[in-house]
Structures are given as structure tokens and as C-alpha cells.
């Protein structure tokens, strides 16, 4: 044991003396999760839709529509700006707004006459989400306008006459209009004020419904597990690659000339790598716990972390057991880990993947690590909640470690050439 401890200490000391590589790998998940949190987790959540309005009508109906757009409930999601006629399109094409709503000339007349009229929404082609929001909201608004035009029909007839007539409308006309409108409104009130049909959204089993107005820390904690798991695999890669670095430097050969077996040398390297991964995991977990500001089940965390470290060690052992040179190994590891990362939810949330890719993601250890830590941080899961991840990672790690140690041992014994 003293021998192994000495080997682990030696490697950790070497990494501590050249910390830039591992430090950068560790910093990456924090930087990346922080970036995404800054982007998506600002206090206002998704940015407001910049909506331009070209009002070619300037009648009562269009003014009412504009007023509705400027209502407090709408301004939470829309930045509405009225622009001059024919100026809106140029602004869109300069990428200064997400969408342009054109209210045609004769809009009010058409509404009052209960004749068909079409509003036009022009989308900014360089944006996808915000124009989509604008389109959906405008579509609902158009339905409401359409319904309103029909509901208030009788009242609108009187109103049109009053507007088009000469001079001021008489009190009787006004009273008749008011009565008609009130009568329609009253008839519709039980259906419309408030809307008689509501919609409840139930998230998929096991998923929390999306929170409105995500905060920085919520988004940060959503992204951190996946990218941190990837970073741990990269740290493992750095640690295990060292066996080939030592082969190149001649110090592996020197160790083989010393009174210890190949297995001890390989075990020492694997232990050092595991220790490095554990240190990295502790740092990342500490930051995650600080951001979460709520307790995490210690037993579940330890079990999951141990299984992850085993998986990291096993994976790296196989990669460098197969690789013939350091360069080959780092290339193989980088590519495989990148694929695992994309499929496993490190850079893109798992639920954003198409269904077919989500099936494939279950084949990656990163996905299981990500799911496990997300359960811990977001759902407050205990050991039973993370058990599937623990078992899969441990199984993966143990089997890969056996194979990897055999490959490395064979390489270490064979790879010393006179």
C-alpha cells in the first residue's frame, strides 16, 4: 500500500505543479453553465419580443388594438413600437425587431362593417423563437378580435353609423349603442369574463413543470451537472494519458526496472487518476452545492460520485490501453467524449434531443451521470432516486476497468522497447 500511496502522491504532485490543463478543464463547466445561465436565466427570462406596428388605419379599432398591445400584461413580453408606414420592413431587415404587425388601411371600417380584414405579420427570418411567440400571440389576438367583432355586432352597427354621420351623435344614439354593447357583453359575460375554458399543463412524469422567469441559479444548476460530468471524464483522460507520457519520457521503463510488477504500476496510475477525479468532483460539487443553497442527500451523492469516478477510470483505462501513442489516445478520448457529451445532455438538455437520439443517449455514461446529479440537485432525490444511475455507472466502470487494466498491463509490459 505504501508503494501505491507513493505513486499516487507523486502523480498528484506533478499535476499540482502543472495545474493549467486540469484547472482549465474544471473551469470549463463553470464557465459554460454560467454563460448559459446568463443567457437564459436573466431576471426577465426570455427577452421581450421587439414588435413594430405599422398602423395604416389609425381608426378606432386599430387604436384599441394598439392599446391592447400596450396593456401591462402584454408589455411584460412585448416591446411595442409604432413606426411610420413602410418603415417597418427596413427595420426588420436591419435585424432591429423580431416582427412587424401591419394594420391595413380600412381596418376599423371593416371591423365596424363586419367585413373580412387581414392583419399581416412579417417575421424576422434570422430569429426563430421570438417571431414564433409573436405569431402565436397575434393569432390568439386575431381570434379574440374576430370573436369580438361578432359578439359586439349590433352595437358596432350603431357605432359605425354614428362615426360616419354628420355632426355629433344624438344622446339617444349614444344610449342605443351603449345598450346594445352592454346587452352583448352581458350575454357573453359568463363565457368571456373571465374565459370559461382554462388550460392546465401537466409535465411528463418525473419532470417538474417549467418555471416561469428562470433565475440564474436555476439555469446554472440545470446545466452544471451535464457539463461537469463531461469535464470529469476529461480530467480522467488527462490523468490516464500520463501513462503514455511516462512511456515517452522513459520513466515508465524505469519503473518497470524497479522491484514492482506491471499491475502495481498500472494500479498506481489508475488510483492517481481516480484521486484527481475525486478532487475535481469535490470542487465542482462544492460550487454546485453553494449555488443550490439546499442540502443534498449525502449518501446518494457519495454513491453516485463513487460510481462516476469508477466509470471515468474504467473509460480512460480502456482508451489508453488501446491507444498506441499519447496523441492517438487523446484524439480517441476527445472524440468519444465529445459524442458522449452531445448525446448525454452535457451541452444540450436531454429533453431537447429528438426522441431517436434520446434513446441513444442512454448508452452513454455521461447521460446517466447527468440524470443522476440533476435528480440530486433539482429533485432532491435520495439514494433510491439515483440508484439506476449508480448501478449503470458502476457496471460500466467496473467492466471497462477490468478490460482497461488488462490492456494497460499488457501495453506496459510490452511497450518497453530496447
Amino acid at each position: 500500500m505504501g508503494l501505491l500511496a507513493g505513486m499516487v502522491r507523486k502523480d498528484l504532485l506533478r499535476h499540482a505543479r502543472s495545474p493549467l490543463g486540469p484547472a482549465l478543464v474544471l473551469a470549463f463547466p463553470l464557465i459554460f453553465a454560467g454563460l448559459i445561465a446568463l443567457t437564459f436565466g436573466g431576471s426577465s427570462g426570455t427577452p421581450k419580443v421587439r414588435l413594430l406596428v405599422e398602423n395604416r388605419d389609425d381608426g378606432l379599432a386599430s387604436q384599441l388594438a394598439l392599446a391592447a398591445l400596450r396593456d401591462a400584461r402584454m408589455t411584460a413580453y412585448f416591446d411595442v413600437e409604432e413606426v411610420g408606414v413602410d418603415l417597418g420592413l427596413a427595420r426588420i431587415e436591419r435585424d432591429e425587431a423580431s416582427a412587424l404587425l401591419r394594420i391595413p388601411n380600412g381596418f376599423t371600417d371593416a371591423i365596424l362593417a363586419r367585413e373580412p380584414v387581414t392583419l399581416e405579420l412579417v417575421r424576422n427570418p434570422s430569429e426563430r423563437i421570438l417571431p414564433e411567440i409573436a405569431e402565436q400571440v397575434m393569432a390568439v389576438g386575431v381570434e379574440v378580435l374576430d370573436a369580438g367583432a361578432r359578439v359586439l355586432g349590433p352595437g358596432l352597427d350603431g357605432l359605425r353609423g354614428a362615426i360616419e354621420g354628420d355632426g355629433w351623435p344624438t344622446p339617444g344614439t349614444v344610449a342605443a349603442i351603449a345598450t346594445a354593447v352592454q346587452s352583448s357583453a352581458q350575454a357573453a359575460s359568463t363565457l368571456v369574463f373571465p374565459p370559461v375554458i382554462a388550460l392546465e399543463v401537466v409535465a411528463a412524469a418525473g419532470n417538474e413543470p417549467e418555471e416561469q422567469g428562470s433565475t440564474f441559479s436555476i439555469v446554472f444548476l440545470t446545466m452544471l451537472p451535464g457539463v461537469a460530468v463531461w469535464a470529469l471524464f476529461m480530467v480522467g483522460d488527462t490523468g490516464m494519458r500520463d501513462i503514455l507520457t511516462e512511456a515517452t519520457a522513459g520513466t515508465l521503463r524505469r519503473q518497470l526496472a524497479a522491484p514492482l510488477g506491471v499491475r502495481e504500476i498500472v494500479a498506481g496510475k489508475a488510483l492517481a487518476m481516480a484521486a484527481l477525479a475525486l478532487i475535481s468532483l469535490t470542487i465542482l460539487a462544492g460550487i454546485g452545492a453553494f449555488a443550490a443553497r439546499r442540502p443534498v442527500d449525502a449518501g446518494a451523492f457519495l454513491a453516485l460520485s463513487a460510481a462516476l469516478v469508477l466509470a471515468v477510470t474504467g473509460f480512460s483505462a480502456v482508451v489508453y490501453g488501446l491507444a498506441r501513442t499519447e496523441r492517438q489516445g487523446s484524439t480517441l478520448a476527445s472524440i468519444v467524449l465529445l459524442v458522449f457529451a452531445f448525446l448525454g445532455g452535457a451541452f444540450v438538455p436531454l429533453d431537447s434531443l429528438p426522441a431517436s437520439l434520446r434513446i441513444v443517449s442512454r448508452l452513454t455514461p455521461i447521460a446517466w451521470g447527468t440524470m443522476g446529479y440533476q435528480s440530486l440537485l433539482e429533485d432532491g432525490a435520495g439514494l433510491s432516486g439515483v440508484l439506476p444511475s449508480v448501478l449503470v455507472l458502476a457496471g460500466f466502470g467496473a467492466s471497462f476497468l477490468v478490460v482497461g487494466m488488462w490492456l494497460l498491463g499488457r501495453k506496459a509490459a510490452r511497450g518497453v522497447v530496447a
Binding site: T39, L121, D146, A147, L191, V202, T331, F342
Partner: protein, 377 residues
């Protein structure tokens, strides 16, 4: 100058001889284009949204609502056997028992949309929006029917048959094509990111290897001078970036059917200026780091951060305004601006002059710094 080009070409040749080079410079970027495109919905319009309906009521208002939900964009089915909640494979709309009577009595009724784990966030939101529109339409028609003499199934059908008074027509600015999705969006972004990352990594790694091995020092001893050696390093990285760009532009066109806009001159100017910026940054990175491992690690991280902030990973529209503005201290944001102008708005050469000038400015600044900081031994 021929010596400079000779030395620069040597760097390119050494890179090409590196066996994984094809993987990193070509195969991986294409794979990432495909991947991000697949997440974004592929290159075609999305498939119809899947939605099952469980009508526990069966009354005429419920049936009317279901008919309002049904259209060409929804794959609506009413399975004979109700699935257990949580066990369903398709999204489900549940109309509760007593819905029709409750609505007609003015009592608030709650529809339920049950999402499934296989649904993406975007499709879930699209279904919700669709159902909300159907609700608005149903309420409007019910109210109209009520005002015209009472809400009944026959009167509702009569109201529903009338053409809409107010419609919404949707158009797209620029070239007038539908909003880019899938690979049309991912290809420019991934090109920007992977050219940056691979030029950073390869360019800096080889430079540090030359520093460590003494090769750079040896190169400085030939009758060229240090300045020309550095110029050769810059040009070498520029050629590498330009070659990769050429391959990926062709791949984007031939494999993914992406149109690169209507201005070849504008595209060429934008890509060349981006290559210059990237080459300068790669040389600067190689100048400041000590060994290949550091070059690789820093290259990865810098590449990913610049790509994320520059709008290569997600549409810049979702970034807060301050972030969008701040991102323009990075070359990637300017490159993406140029791509948007060319590809989505169909702009021409004059419109990419500003992004190109910014990129050339970056290239110049990086190159000057690299020249100052690069030590040949």
C-alpha cells in the same frame, strides 16, 4: 516572400500529415452540423404535432372544441382505450366530464394537456399554443351563438361555418423563405465554431511543439528574420482555416442543401476576413501557452466560449440585449452577423463590409500581439 510562403505551406503540410486531422477538421464539424440541425428540426418543416384526445364528456361543446383543435398541423387521434397517465407515449388533451354542461352554465372548466418525456420543449409549447387558439375560437363562437339566440350545437355550427372576419397573414422578411430551422441554422453556426476551434487547437499545438523542440528557433536562424517567420506562421494558419472553410461551405451546400446567400463576393470577403481573425488568434494562443497540452485545453475552452457568446450555439435573439451588445467584442458575433445578412436577408457585398472590417481589425490586433509575445526559444 517566397520563403515566407514556403514556410507557411510547410505548416499546412505538417498539419495535413497528422492522421486525426481529417477527423477534427472535416468529419467532426460535419457531424456537429448534422447533430445541431437534428435538434433544431432537421432541414424540413417539422412533422405534424402528435396529440391524443381523451374526451370524457362527449357533449357537443367538447366535440366542437376537439374540432377546433384539429387541423393540418396536428396529428389528432382519439384512441379507443384510454392510456394511464404517465404511461402514455403520445401527448394527450383531456376534456373532463361535465365539460359541456359546465361551459354552458358559465362554470369554469379546465382542459388538461399532458406532456410526455419524449416531447421536446419546442413541440410542447407549440401544442399548447395551438390549444389556446382553439379555446379562444371556441369561446368566441359560443359567445356569438349565445348572443344570436342561445348557444346550441346547431347555431354553433352555423357560426363556425362563417368565414373569419379577422385573419392573420404571416410572411417572412428578407428572402421571404420560411424561418430557417434545423441545418439552415446550424450549418453557419457550426462552421464558425469549428473553424475557430480547430484552427486554435491545431495552430497553437503545432506552434508550441515547434517552440519546445527548438524548431522555431532553427527557423529563425535562416536568412528570413523573426518577423517573416511570424508572418509565415500567420499565413500557415490562415491557409489552414481557409481550406477548412472551403470544405465545410461545400459540405453545407452539398450535404445539407444550405444556401449561402446570393452574393459569392460577399461570402468570400466574410469568410476570408474571418479566417484572418482566427489565424491571428491561433498564433497568439501558440505564442502565449507553454506546451501542446495547454494549447489544446485553452483552445477548446476559448473556442467554445467564443462560439456560445457569438451566437453559434443558440440564436442570439434569446440573449439579453446587453449580452448581444457585449458579444460584439468577439469575432464570432461579427461572423454570425455577416452570415445572417448574407443567408437570411439575402444581402450583398456592401452589407458585409462592416462585419468584415471588424474581423480584419481583430485579425490585425491578434497578429500584432502574437508578434510581440512569440518567443522563438
Amino acid at each position: 516572400m517566397s520563403n515566407v510562403l514556403w514556410l507557411a505551406w510547410n505548416d499546412v503540410r505538417l498539419t495535413a500529415r497528422d492522421k486525426p486531422a481529417f477527423l477534427w477538421l472535416v468529419a467532426l464539424p460535419i457531424a456537429m452540423m448534422w447533430f445541431f440541425g437534428a435538434i433544431g428540426g432537421g432541414s424540413e418543416r417539422p412533422l405534424r404535432l402528435a396529440l391524443d384526445v381523451l374526451d370524457e364528456d362527449g357533449g357537443w361543446v367538447a366535440r366542437a372544441l376537439v374540432d377546433e383543435v384539429r387541423d393540418d398541423t396536428i396529428d389528432l387521434q382519439e384512441p379507443a382505450v384510454a392510456q394511464a397517465p404517465g404511461g402514455a407515449e403520445r401527448r394527450r388533451l383531456v376534456v373532463p366530464a361535465g365539460f359541456t354542461a359546465g361551459v354552458l352554465a358559465g362554470e369554469r372548466q379546465v382542459l388538461r394537456v399532458e406532456h410526455v418525456a419524449s416531447g421536446t420543449t419546442e413541440s410542447n409549447l407549440a401544442v399548447q399554443a395551438h390549444v389556446v387558439r382553439a379555446i379562444a375560437r371556441t369561446i368566441g363562437r359560443l359567445a356569438t351563438a349565445k348572443i344570436e339566440g342561445g348557444a346550441s350545437a346547431e347555431r354553433y355550427r352555423d357560426v363556425a361555418a362563417r368565414p373569419a372576419l379577422v385573419r392573420l397573414a404571416v410572411a417572412t422578411a428578407g428572402r421571404g423563405t420560411p424561418v430557417p430551422r434545423g441545418r439552415e441554422q446550424s450549418v453557419p453556426g457550426m462552421l464558425t465554431m469549428t473553424v475557430l476551434m480547430m484552427t486554435l487547437i491545431y495552430g497553437a499545438v503545432f506552434l508550441t511543439i515547434e517552440k519546445q523542440s527548438g524548431m522555431l528557433r532553427r527557423q529563425s536562424l535562416v536568412p528570413m528574420g523573426r518577423g517573416r517567420v511570424i508572418l509565415a506562421k500567420l499565413i500557415g494558419r490562415l491557409i489552414l482555416a481557409a481550406l477548412q472553410i472551403g470544405v465545410l461551405v461545400a459540405a453545407g451546400r452539398l450535404l445539407f442543401g444550405v444556401s449561402w446567400g446570393r452574393s459569392p463576393a460577399g461570402l468570400a470577403l466574410l469568410l476570408l476576413s474571418y479566417a484572418i481573425a482566427v489565424a491571428g488568434l491561433a498564433t497568439l494562443l501558440g505564442a502565449v501557452v507553454r506546451n501542446p497540452a495547454q494549447a489544446s485545453a485553452v483552445g477548446w475552452i476559448v473556442g467554445m466560449v467564443l462560439a456560445a457568446l457569438g451566437g453559434c450555439w443558440w440564436p442570439s435573439e434569446v440573449m439579453p440585449a446587453w449580452m448581444r451588445a457585449a458579444a460584439h467584442v468577439l469575432p464570432t458575433a461579427w461572423a454570425m452577423d455577416g452570415f445572417h445578412g448574407l443567408i437570411t436577408f439575402g444581402q450583398g457585398l456592401p452589407d458585409v463590409l462592416v462585419p468584415a472590417a471588424a474581423l480584419l481589425g481583430f485579425g490585425g490586433a491578434f497578429s500584432i500581439l502574437a508578434a510581440r509575445l512569440l518567443r522563438v526559444s
